[in-house]
């Protein structure tokens, strides 16, 4: 508990004892029964060489998929170990406010991008280090809508999730209050929510004000966005006080204040305070099984050593490229034929313009303003929908994207970039349908470890192209209304989704509705690879919600 501060009402210890304690009690009461509930011991062909070395659960990956469940499992009294491929860093000392110096936050092992719309990785949504991709996520945390989970019901395209939004709502509420989400209450596009955001929205920067002004003219409703950066100091169990955001605008790299709710300053310290062990620089190469097909442990490389860790249960939370890659490399859970398939990426088209106003795009959270009026546009000729966000941007990220699109070079390039302080953008985040042409496979080319590099095929199909056209037209209208000149669009795709999807049947899905592999009795998968559909919102909050839900389903199965 905090020593000097008095806790404010409504901000107090967001991990609610009334939710946690009965679970903890029941698990602790049955702790004797937990090993017996796992029949592994009797069925092992050979006795374990060192039973003391076996832990209840190994979690691979410490991002939005792995960290929340790691905390939940540790709080339930289980012995849990997390393996993180990247290092553990100290944000206050190691995080320079410099884009290039922050490149260590990205998963920079090479992936091969194929198809008509090759997807960028690295700084585009692939992270490494204790905290995973949340170290450099922009912390946009809109909730999915009811309709996002039932695209097939509503449009006859894509697939439905095997459960409704009711399953996620309690977890959204819990996470929003645990992380200290800043956002509008009531939420304009979902005014009947049971609980509002715990903190007021963050302030609007120049790009957000321009979009707000133009949308008001055009009759488009906007609101300050929900964001997992703190608009006020906030207390969290296991961590203590986290400081408020200072509008340094550097969310797409690391936050050096702990104001952004990356996993390293939220769920991971919570997990460690309950006894979870996090091993950094631990790159998993093998998943071992016994003759019955149960996972018995994993093998990883750490500081030049090969290490084996035995476990009763494995949680694979390595993200939607490394998760299917590990499954393929280990020929695990492949019977559905859907590992690596159904690769979806959010249409993330950006429209940029130059304004007479002084914008200084490096200040404030990048995506200050949101509109979800386009969640189901009335004039849409496509399934699903999208949201709109304003964008402020750092100069290196902006310049490199801009040259890829506009191919400016020489004096025109330097001249255009002189207007950096007068440039602002809007982007969309839209739903994506699965398609047979979009998938991940292992290539013949090897990485430095001698493992095959992943190859990802992505081609925007008719639905994504129609959505892009709709969105580009609307965003150009907004920027014209805002007074922009030299307006240009950048077609891009972000987030890796769907490569080990969840479903009701092992014929067309890799994991069941509880996140458990159909093929393997003690393997759970939890990250954006299990999403049956892409959603029309940024995925991080939903990954975290699934993570807690997966942990609860697993814990309930232990008690059963």
């Amino acid at each position: 508990m905090p020593d000097e501060e008095v806790l404010e009402e409504g901000v107090l210890n967001p991990v609610q004892p009334e939710i946690q304690d009965p679970l903890l009690k029941s698990i602790l009461a049955e702790s004797e029964a937990v090993p017996a509930a796992a029949p592994t011991e009797q069925e092992q062909a050979a006795p374990l060489p060192d039973p003391a070395d076996e832990v209840d659960c190994v979690v691979i990956g410490t991002g939005a998929g792995g960290a929340p469940l790691l905390a939940r499992l540790a709080m339930a009294g289980l012995k849990v170990v997390a393996l993180e491929a990247g290092p553990r860093r100290d944000p206050t000392k190691d995080y320079a406010t410099d884009e290039k110096a922050q490149n260590f936050l990205f998963w920079n092992d090479e992936r091969l991008s194929a198809g008509q719309n090759p997807v960028a990785f690295g700084k585009n949504n692939s992270g490494t280090g204790v905290g995973g991709s949340t170290l450099h996520y922009t912390a946009y945390t809109p909730r999915a809508h009811r309709g996002d989970l039932q695209l097939h019901t509503d449009f006859g395209q894509g697939v439905d999730w095997p459960f409704g939004i009711e399953e996620l709502e309690p977890y959204y509420e819990e996470i929003e209050h645990f992380l200290g989400i800043s956002g509008p209450t009531p939420y304009p596009w979902d005014p009947t929510r049971r609980k509002g955001y715990p903190l007021a929205p963050l302030p609007l920067n120049g790009a957000a004000q321009l979009m707000e002004r133009a949308c008001a003219q055009l009759g488009i409703q906007t609101s300050p966005a929900a964001n997992a950066a703190l608009s006020a100091r906030y207390y969290q169990e296991g961590i203590g006080w986290r400081e408020a955001c200072t509008n340094r605008g550097f969310c797409q790299a690391g936050c050096n204040r702990g104001a952004k709710a990356s996993m390293d300053v939220t769920f991971l310290p919570l997990a460690e305070s309950y006894g979870a062990e996090i091993r950094a620089d631990a790159y998993v190469t093998e998943i071992e099984r016994d003759t019955t097909g149960r996972v018995t442990g994993v093998v990883y490389e750490q500081h030049g050593q090969t290490v084996r860790q035995r476990c009763r249960h494995l949680f694979l939370c390595a993200g939607a490229v490394e998760t299917p890659r590990l499954l393929m490399l280990n020929e695990l859970a492949l019977s559905s034929g859907h590992v690596g398939k159904n690769f979806m990426a959010h249409p993330g088209m950006q429209v940029w313009g130059t304004f007479p106003e002084d914008i200084r795009p490096y200040k404030g959270i990048p995506g200050g303003l949101i509109s979800e009026d386009t969640h189901r546009p009335k004039d849409a000729d496509f399934a699903g929908g999208y949201l709109l966000q304003s964008i402020g941007v750092m100069p290196v990220t902006f310049a490199t994207q801009m040259v890829r699109q506009r191919k400016l070079w020489g004096q025109p390039l330097r001249d255009y970039m002189r207007s950096y302080n007068h440039i602002a953008g809007i982007n969309i985040l839209g739903d994506c349908l699965p398609h047979a042409a979009n998938f991940m496979e292992l290539s013949d080319e090897k990485d430095a470890r001698g493992l095959p590099k992943p190859r990802l095929h992505f081609t925007a199909q008719e639905n994504e192209q129609r959505m892009n056209r709709h969105a580009e037209k609307l965003m150009r209208q907004i920027w014209e209304a805002a007074g922009a000149t030299d307006i240009w669009a950048f077609e891009r795709y972000a987030h890796v989704i769907g490569t080990a999807r969840m479903g009701r049947s092992g014929d067309d899905a890799v994991v069941n509705p509880e996140g458990k592999a159909f093929d393997v009795p003690n393997l759970y998968i939890c990250d954006n690879s299990v999403f049956p559909s892409a959603l029309s919102v940024n995925p991080a909050l939903t990954i975290m919600a699934l993570s807690l839900r997966t942990a609860d389903k697993f814990l309930a199965s232990l008690r059963a």
Partner: protein, 199 residues
């Protein structure tokens, strides 16, 4: 187009507005030695890369231009990647060898001279062909000139705008983020943010 006074970022680096980690990263670039001995490229190819970089980022106003080629050479020497590669492209080292060789082939085909022997107009003419995907040369059968040009331009652009002098040029002072920004709305500046100057 806006212009900003010189020396803004350099002055801020000496203040507590910049964290020690940030200062270290920027000063390393600011004080990088001008004479760099290539490790990956041979001397001729390295000079070719420098010449190409000098046309993609012409800096006639600077006595000592910001050097962009060393970062490429260092990265290729270390074998570092940025997380992805166009599947149609060969591995980065091979792509650079083929692409730079292709630029020389295009210069020979157009002007019967190597790229580095051409005047600025001739060099720009070759780069225009490359940017348009119309450069002659047998190497382009093995490497896509569209994607080579895009990757080369993006890599040099990252190095250029990561440099404190280039950041001064565009009026970026986001590195001076301590203790934070409070005036973040339209047309709101804090004292440490540079104002535009009339030329």
């Amino acid at each position: 187009m806006p212009h900003y006074p010189e020396g803004t970022v350099r002055a801020l680096l000496a203040t507590s507005h910049v964290t020690p980690a940030t200062k270290a990263a920027l000063e390393a670039r600011l004080h990088a030695s001008a004479d760099y001995a290539p490790q990956f490229f041979d001397t001729d190819t390295y000079q070719l890369l420098r010449a190409v970089a000098a046309r993609l980022f012409p800096q006639p106003e600077r006595e000592t231009p910001i050097e962009l080629a060393p970062n490429v050479d260092q990265r290729l020497t270390a074998g570092r990647a940025d997380g992805w590669r166009y599947d149609v492209m060969p591995p980065d080292r091979e792509a650079y060898r083929l692409g730079l060789g292709g630029i020389n082939q295009a210069a020979q085909a157009q002007f019967q001279q190597p790229f580095t022997a051409l005047d600025e107009a001739g060099q720009d003419a070759v780069l225009e062909l490359l940017a348009a995907g119309k450069a002659p040369g047998e190497n382009w059968a093995q490497v896509s000139q569209k994607y080579f040009f895009e990757e080369l331009l993006a890599e040099l652009t990252e190095s250029y705008y990561a440099h404190p002098l280039a950041q001064e040029e565009i009026g970026y002072v986001g590195m001076a983020d301590q203790p934070g920004w409070t005036r973040i709305g339209l047309n709101q500046l804090e004292d440490r943010e540079p104002t535009e100057v009339k030329l």
